[in-house]
Amino acid sequence: MEQTRLVARILHNPIDLGEMLAMVSDPSCGATVLFVGSTRDHNEGRQVLELYYEAYEEMARKEMERIAQSALAQWNLGKIAVAHRLGHVPLGEASVAVAVSAPHRSEAFTAARYVIDELKKTVPIWKKEVFEGGQVWIGLQSGSGGPK
């Protein structure tokens, strides 16, 4: 059962990165890659005051599981843990994290990159940026550079 090798979580409180690493720990795996996406104080040159994340929770969790399953099917991996935080996320804190363990580092890197890229493409989660003089809802994929 692949299901026992993955954990996908939607959280309403801080992401515990130590717990993410512990969840993918595996005696047969010599490599672990953890990706952490955190809220930035600036986006498109404007000062961000507050950030909120909202999700279609039931579907988001299902999509996160689907992506992790797909990674487990494609590469020789140990375990995958993926978590996204919702609600108000203070600046500088983690909003999303992906942890992947594997016997070899190449697969751990490739799979972690795949999971976060897919997550930002298809998982129904949105971010509201509040800045001086306004607010905007943007998609996850534009998280690094703002909407195109």
């Binding site: 279609y56 930002k120 989660i125 905007v136 943007i138 998609g139 909407p147």
Partner: protein
């Protein structure tokens, strides 16, 4: 037949509702449901170019046929999109 509709993020804020129920005769397409929703919530109009749809938590296209008890979700762009233009 009835379909539950869910609104998220910018669409939830603009319409002021997070869910509603639509009643139809027969088995409408997602496109037909979206037409009806635009009549009920004219603020949705500008989003026609960028909204996508999920039925029962799977992405579908506008030709997908709805059935009694389905959950239709209006998905504003996940990957950046037209929300900027309609701000």
């Amino acid at each position: 037949m009835t379909v539950k509709v869910r609104f998220f993020a910018v669409l939830r804020e603009r319409t002021g509702v997070s869910s509603t129920v639509l009643t139809f005769e027969g088995s409408p397409s997602v496109h037909e449901a979206w037409q009806l929703l635009q009549q009920q919530y004219p603020v949705l109009g500008p989003f026609s170019e960028c909204v996508t749809f999920a039925v029962n938590r799977e992405y579908v296209n506008q030709h997908h046929r709805l059935h009694d008890g389905d959950e239709l979700a209006l998905i504003p762009p996940v990957s950046g999109g037209c929300d900027r233009e309609v701000q």
